[in-house]
Symmetry: C2
Subunit: 253 residues, 2 copies
Amino acid sequence: MPHLRAPVTRRERQREATYDEIVDVSARLLAEGADLSLRAVAAGMGMTAPALYRYVASYQQLVDLVAFELDKAATAEWAEAAARFPEDDPAARLAVACARFRQWALTRPREFALVFANPIAEEDSERRDLLTLSTSGHYFTDLLWQIWELYQFPYPALDDLDPVIREAVLDPVIPAKADHIPTEDRGILWVYMRAWSALYGVVTLESTGHCDPRVIESGQLFRATLLDWLAPLGLHHERDRITTILDEELARP
Amino acid sequence: MPHLRAPVTRRERQREATYDEIVDVSARLLAEGADLSLRAVAAGMGMTAPALYRYVASYQQLVDLVAFELDKAATAEWAEAAARFPEDDPAARLAVACARFRQWALTRPREFALVFANPIAEEDSERRDLLTLSTSGHYFTDLLWQIWELYQFPYPALDDLDPVIREAVLDPVIPAKADHIPTEDRGILWVYMRAWSALYGVVTLESTGHCDPRVIESGQLFRATLLDWLAPLGLHHERDRITTILDEELARP
DNA sequence: GACGTAAGTTTACACCGTTTACCGTTAACG
DNA sequence: CGTTAACGGTAAACGGTGTAAACTTACGTC
């Protein structure tokens, strides 16, 4: 059994490369507007469909794999865009990241659906675990933590939380780098969940198109939702500045 | 060409019955956990798949038909549950309806996805039109209107709205019985859009399972989101009463 | 160099949506 | 009343899907 830093054998390297190619081809298919199918992916790699079963146990696993990598790649995009603001300005970074997240969801609704609207049943714990690793989730949580460090926005004490929620923030299964958050400050995670729920809501509504197209195009619904969250995050003093950044970001091509 | 109250011929009655059966069989399939497919529906009716093409032009149309009827049936359920409060208590009715909506989304995630997470492309205007007819949309809009009549919550003046949004509330393509809302009061529709977006958000998040299962089970995220909307709807004085109703509804089997 | 295993192939099965050609039955009309 | 056209269905077929099993080939290791 290989160690974690195992000397990668030739085979293992090749296998890793194949996984990368699977993701690449899948992403290309989706970008082209084609359906994501085992056969199409295989064909795109010059293989037959059953061969993919050496790498993935089922179609759903392929989807999960691709979803994870798409999320990772997308998050890198947002993060890069947000990085035009310095590290000590997490509020501005959050505004940019949210806007880019929305933009991504609007221009790539199929990818968005794959990553964020993919139903995850109560029971299958494998896919739940994968959800915990969500790159975007970690990124947003991290930004929120930095914002708290800077602005010290109020958050519920553990005693004020519903017992179930208390348990959930103490031992989170959501994507969150929570280890570095002191136990008594875990109420922050509740703020995170609520904020994420709001962001997820508008973006999903707009991305799936269950909304007046003009409203989507204007970006007002998204804008209003985000502005509502400035105060709870202790950013009321930053309102004008963040609004400017947001509008600037929304006006982007 | 028959009039609107055309004397229904035998054929027309039979055809209508067939449509009903299509919906019934489809609903049964979904309830059984099976996939919704043309072939399965046809088989369930003792027909062959191509025969269904006499009634729907494509699989997507079948889905739309079923989605519309599922929405209608579900709305009837919520409305009936909400009707345990009198007509002059729209706030209580809204609380119950929202809770039932969520309950429905949680117990029937596949149906929910069909109706509310079904991607609608920008272009295809047919499906957009269908969206405008959404029964649940009309029901919720109507409740909100009644709440406004009773509590007169503040809403933005037309001049304060973004031009695009102003246009959208004056000539809405969303499901809303807006004809009876005076032009100058159309800002209410903006409140409606925002509230619906928030409700849609949590419910979708919970229904698709992109969330800690314990948080879902506790209902706290949903509860908090709804409570946040009491004030904007002029229901701050009703907070305790509505909260009780909501908790009672959430505790239901 | 032999052996075991990993990574492919081919073949096959059971589905899927959709199109075409064909055929009774049914309703409408001159 | 008889003719005609539309309606509602069938069977067959095409190309597509995920998946399973058996088989082959090539590689890495002892």
